[in-house]
Point group: C2
């Protein structure tokens, strides 16, 4: 019996969270590119702070998941890499390489703007690592093999250009019960056969006592305990 | 003769850029913690987009550095890790372990809020990699050994808690001309002797023809060519 990979959620709220994420990403992008004088920046800061104060009128506790999240299908709307509601996320979009085969690996797309700059004109090396950690972890999840990152290795072959559509891919290369090894690459969408960065991640499912220690306090928005876990049948697709 | 490690800059503009960065970080934080209903989020999105449009009235070209930046002293106000003006950056603060010894390594401090979450309650594994890449690279720079990341390895010993002061440290462990190897750790400030994540980075100074190919188009705010390079005497201190 297969679990529903996408439990129902409030679609109006999802659209609003995504809309705010989009607007905040535009704001973050504009804030690093603007050449307006100090007075205009001070005025903008005042308005941004007022907006922050208004949004802070009602907030969730640190161990309570957002209402829209679902850990079993790894729907994380505020993920700093894939979250539609996150101003930190490009956001990277993920899909299965083959919708019918959970072990065929996953593909990702992202475009990194000026806020992600490291060396002038190129993505920060750590941003490539951030994308790869998410990609490799999501690949393990897509294969029903969720685990926590225990090792991440990245080899940088060429700099990753900004404002250029990127294509990422990953597949599970080893799987020994609790331990999963995933390999992946970042390339440009224009030249997907030339890897710019190659990554390799090792993910381990913590033992039950560790899981309880790490995540014992986590609840969903209704207060129900909701620690992360492997999906029961490996059909869950990583989603935003 | 020692180069001035901190060329003059417009202090009013620096304060305004830092102020806008602080306000935007508060806004990003509030946006992932708010439980306000869809209508309030839609209204906030409209205001954020209007603010983005205003800041976009005057912007710099993609290959022109911000007015406040200085590559020789690695002052990068919009760095996604250390930039005072970056909404993506915690920001991490760096200082030399020994102000008088460029080879003594560097120390960093940062606190990661809810926007940096990976597993519930903990930092995203890729965020640790992002912090370490910056830390290790800055350590090479502080020793006068700037290079581009060619390899980054991270070993995750324990999850990195959110909203907890972190302490990072790094030192150069090998240096063979163009190639520098740096090792570093992330720990909590409360227990700095217990590494949560260990990182090792290899940085290589690109050959002159590569440097010209990668960065030939980079200029400072006045239009003067301004590619990254190693400081002449290793006295430059990484700065925000």
């Amino acid at each position: 019996m297969s679990a529903d990979p996408s439990p129902a959620y409030d679609e109006e709220l999802m659209a609003a969270v995504g809309g705010l994420g989009t607007a905040l990403r535009a704001l973050v992008d504009a804030s690093v590119r603007t050449t307006l004088p100090a007075a205009a920046l001070r005025e903008a800061a005042g308005e941004a702070q007022a907006l922050a104060d208004r949004l802070s009128a009602a907030t969730r506790p640190v161990h309570e998941l957002p209402e829209l999240d679902d850990l079993l299908t790894f729907r994380r709307v505020y993920s700093p890499v894939t979250g539609v509601g996150s101003a930190l996320a490009p956001p990277m979009r993920l899909r299965r390489a083959d919708p019918d085969d959970p072990r065929a690996g996953i593909l990702g797309t992202a475009t990194l703007g000026q806020p992600y700059e490291g060396p002038p004109g190129y993505a920060h090396g750590g941003m490539s690592a951030l994308l790869l950690d998410q990609l490799l972890g999501a690949c393990a999840i897509a294969a029903g093999l969720w685990g926590m990152t225990v090792r991440l290795e990245n080899d940088y072959r060429r700099p990753v250009p900004l404002r250029t559509p990127l294509e990422l891919c990953a597949r599970v290369v080893d799987d020994t019960g609790r331990r999963t090894v995933v390999a992946g690459t970042i390339a440009t969408a224009a030249d997907p056969g030339t890897p710019l960065v190659e990554g390799r991640g090792v993910f381990v499912l913590p033992r039950p006592e560790r899981l309880a220690g790490y995540f014992g306090a986590v609840t969903d928005a209704s207060g129900r305990p909701s620690p992360p876990a492997r999906p029961t049948d490996g059909t869950a697709v990583p989603r935003d």
